[in-house]
């Protein structure tokens, strides 16, 4: 039997309902424009904006890191869910900028939201898709009745070497999802998930290296597109669905162009992608990117509408999810008094490159 046939025979469908009972985001208020970065490096801003489809990006404050952003996003998620934090049985924080190499971010988050001590927690790393990996782990744990609620967070203050193309996109942000199993509590049901993973070294950061390395154009076709399309089309096949069955698509968004290009390659209407595309105005929040895109779409989607979200993490892999907004969304959305993604995006302050250098601790003589 071929490996593919073996796999198809062992395909497992979700047997217990699992869903999102609340979600929250966090984006730092500082922004730097592509023009400002281009000015410093002698680049033509229009070429950058056109080439990357990114106009400005978020910048964390000096005292913000992947942990603080994760805490704020998680608090928003709990506020929306209307649950008590001690009921959370697991916290997973996915990031590629965990503040500590050894010492979990997840325990900081669990403590800060008041979920300790009776829970399990761990950090995840899979470049930009560690957040969605956390969602999948929580899905398994709630569906198997190991826990009642699981909290999955994607959070990053991503790095870009000064002068590298990454500097125009690498930004900061987080999104948190509370996963539960009681349909009455759902704001959206996760109908199915499918992942696509290979060993593809398109982007990496070695131990003790300050900035990541990347394979230039290799990050495109053999990495991003192969995996995003592999997972998305795999999910279609697994569920016997097609592009027309979905109202929104959210793809990992390392820049403003790749998600639209992926959609075109798969015959998906780009108008279904644009509502969940935030990288052009906040940059690439790495582990937060597709989760923030999903949160942005959940904020506007109507009950019954379907969303397909596919993350991508270099190294490389993609997780696809088929999500249907439930009737419970309306009441929780109306009751929620915290900051929404739209609030975070609107609440901004521009900084120049000098302040940016201070915020991102790029000044080495200090």
């Amino acid at each position: 039997m071929s490996p593919n046939a073996l796999f198809m025979e062992s395909v497992c469908m979700i047997s217990q309902p699992v869903g999102i009972v609340g979600y929250g985001t966090c984006v730092p208020k500082y922004r730097i424009k592509a023009e400002e970065i281009a000015r410093v490096w002698g680049e033509e801003p229009d070429r950058i904006k056109k080439g990357l489809g990114v106009f400005e990006k978020s910048v964390p404050d000096v005292d913000e890191d992947a942990g603080t952003l994760a805490v704020e996003a998680s608090r928003n998620a709990i506020l929306m869910a209307g649950i008590e934090a001690p009921a959370i049985g697991a916290v997973y924080v996915g990031s590629e900028s965990h503040p500590y190499a050894v010492k979990p971010t997840a325990s900081i988050v669990a403590e800060a939201i008041g979920a300790t001590p009776d829970l399990t927690a761990a950090d995840l790393e899979f470049a930009c898709k560690a957040g969605t990996a956390g969602i999948q782990i929580c899905m398994g744990m709630v569906a198997s009745n190991m826990i009642r609620y699981g909290l999955a967070v994607g959070s990053d203050t991503s790095q870009g070497r000064p002068g590298d193309a990454l500097e125009y996109t690498a930004s900061a942000g987080a999104a948190a999802f509370l996963i539960g199993r009681d349909k009455a509590e759902f704001v959206a049901e996760i109908e199915e998930t499918f992942s696509f993973t290979t060993d593809t070294p398109d982007f990496w950061r070695r131990q003790h290296a300050e900035f990541p390395s990347h394979g230039g154009r290799f990050t495109g076709t053999p990495a991003y597109f192969r995996h995003v399309m592999g997972a998305t089309q795999g999910l279609f096949e697994k569920m016997n669905t097609k592009a027309a069955d979905y109202d929104y698509f959210v793809f990992h968004q390392p820049n403003g162009k790749f998600p639209l290009e992926a959609a075109k390659k798969m015959g998906i209407d780009v108008e279904k992608v644009k509502p969940g595309l935030f990288t052009p105005i906040i940059g690439n929040t790495y582990s937060g990117a597709s989760p923030i895109g999903l949160a942005g779409v959940l904020d506007i989607a109507k009950p019954g509408q379907r969303i397909l979200v596919t993350s991508f993490g270099s190294g490389a892999g993609s997780d696809s999810f088929s999500i249907r907004v439930t009737d419970g969304m309306k009441a929780k959305r109306e009751k929620y008094k915290g900051y929404t993604l739209a609030d975070y995006i609107a609440d901004k302050e521009y900084i120049d490159y000098g302040v940016y250098v201070k915020h991102r601790r790029k000044l080495k003589s200090l």
């Binding site: 033509e44 070429r47 394979g215 230039g216 154009r217 290799f218 076709t221 053999p222």
Partner: protein, 376 residues
């Protein structure tokens, strides 16, 4: 040939085996009939960490114990390999030689590739001082503009024409047409050369089979005869030359080739020239005698080098359109001319193609190798 391009899923060996197998299939040749292998490759040590390429090819083509050698002459490695193969047959030492050219370039970061390619110039006087190849050819372009009034538009027209040709070549790296606007609005790499004036970094391999003519006739219906093989050398560094606008090695090799083949530039129907930058094609069509010195740019813009115009230049798409896996280029040029002479250049066939030429340059002109071929 292997498909040229960013071949992420194929390695050095895969490509050369693919090209070699296709060349053998083209002439219904069995491995045991081969008695020599020559491979042109420039920098596999720097680019993929592999040396000892002759043995590698014999091994992975399943041809042991056939003797195999690697030839290196920077970007002219392929053309010089072809000449070495030709000499092996012409000397009577060998009866059937496979000549290959290969380079795997996209597994290496761009700056490391630029540094490896920089070794084609004078390391101590050029590369060490920061002069990369785009910079060296940019100086040649500036001088050509000063001396002859060559313009950026004229150079751009070379890229447009080569993309038009490569759009009809299924083996080409770029199979899309571009406009003058695309070239003129592209970013400067080293003024006056813009991104679209420069040949890309490409993976690829090409191979040909050489035999004495009478023997070749028994294997294929349309053997192609190499009627001249000439090579010349010049100073390694650009600054040591009397002229920055002419490649003396090209002029010397061309003169020798025309004399040997007893033809003139007017007899050539198709020519594959070394256009690592658009200015290089302009200088080449002058140095090879197709146009007077200083008129290459004007002739290009006027369309005189287009397919089936005055002289069909770079019907494969050249280095700009077909791609430039450096060691493979010189052999690919020969493959294209063979297809043209056989009437098998689908979609880009030169009419009544009788005589063809290849022109392969190493560095900024320190090595130049010219071949003239005819229908046998």
């Amino acid at each position: 040939m292997s498909k040229f391009g960013e071949e992420w899923t194929r390695g050095y060996r895969d490509m050369l085996i693919e090209a070699g197998s296709r060349a053998l299939a083209d002439c219904n040749l069995h491995g045991e009939e081969i008695d020599g292998i020559v491979v042109g490759t420039m920098a596999p040590g720097s680019l993929v960490g592999q040396e000892h390429i002759g043995a590698l090819v014999a091994d992975f083509m399943g041809l042991n114990p056939v003797p195999a050698i690697r030839v290196e002459a920077a970007c002219a490695s392929g053309g010089v390999a072809l000449r070495q193969g030709y000499m092996a047959i012409a000397s009577g030492m060998h009866d059937c030689v496979v000549v290959g050219g290969v380079e795997k370039m996209t597994d290496t970061p761009g700056e490391e590739v630029a540094s490896a390619l920089g070794g084609a110039g004078d390391q101590e006087w050029e590369l060490f001082m920061g002069a990369t190849f785009p910079a060296i050819y940019a100086m040649m372009a500036r001088r050509h503009m000063l001396e002859y009034g060559t313009t950026e538009e004229q150079m751009a027209s070379v890229a447009v024409k080569n993309h038009r040709n490569s759009s009809k070549n299924k083996y080409a790296h770029f199979q899309n047409e571009i406009t003058m606007d695309t070239v003129m609005k592209s970013k400067y790499v080293a003024t006056p050369l813009k991104l679209f004036d420069c040949a890309p970094i490409t993976d690829g391999a090409a191979a040909v089979v050489l035999m004495p003519l009478e023997k070749a006739k028994k294997y294929v219906e349309q053997p192609i005869e190499i009627v001249a093989s000439a090579q010349a050398s010049d100073t390694l560094a650009l600054h040591s030359r009397a002229s920055m606008t002419s490649l003396r090695a090209t002029q010397a090799a061309a003169k020798k080739a025309y004399e040997t083949a007893k033809v003139t530039p007017k007899d050539i129907d198709v020519v594959e020239v070394h256009d690592c930058f658009t200015i290089a094609e302009i200088a080449a069509i002058e140095d090879l005698g197709f146009f007077k010195k200083g008129e290459g740019g004007k002739a290009s813009l006027e369309g005189k080098t287009a397919l089936n115009a005055e002289i069909s230049v770079n019907t494969s798409g050249g280095l700009k359109g077909c791609g430039h896996p450096v060691g493979a280029t010189g052999v690919k040029q020969a493959v294209e001319v063979v297809w043209q002479l056989r009437g098998k250049a689908e979609g880009r066939q030169v009419k009544d193609c009788e005589v063809g030429m290849t022109h392969n340059v190493g560095g900024s002109g320190a090595t130049s190798v010219v071949h003239i071929m005819k229908r046998a």
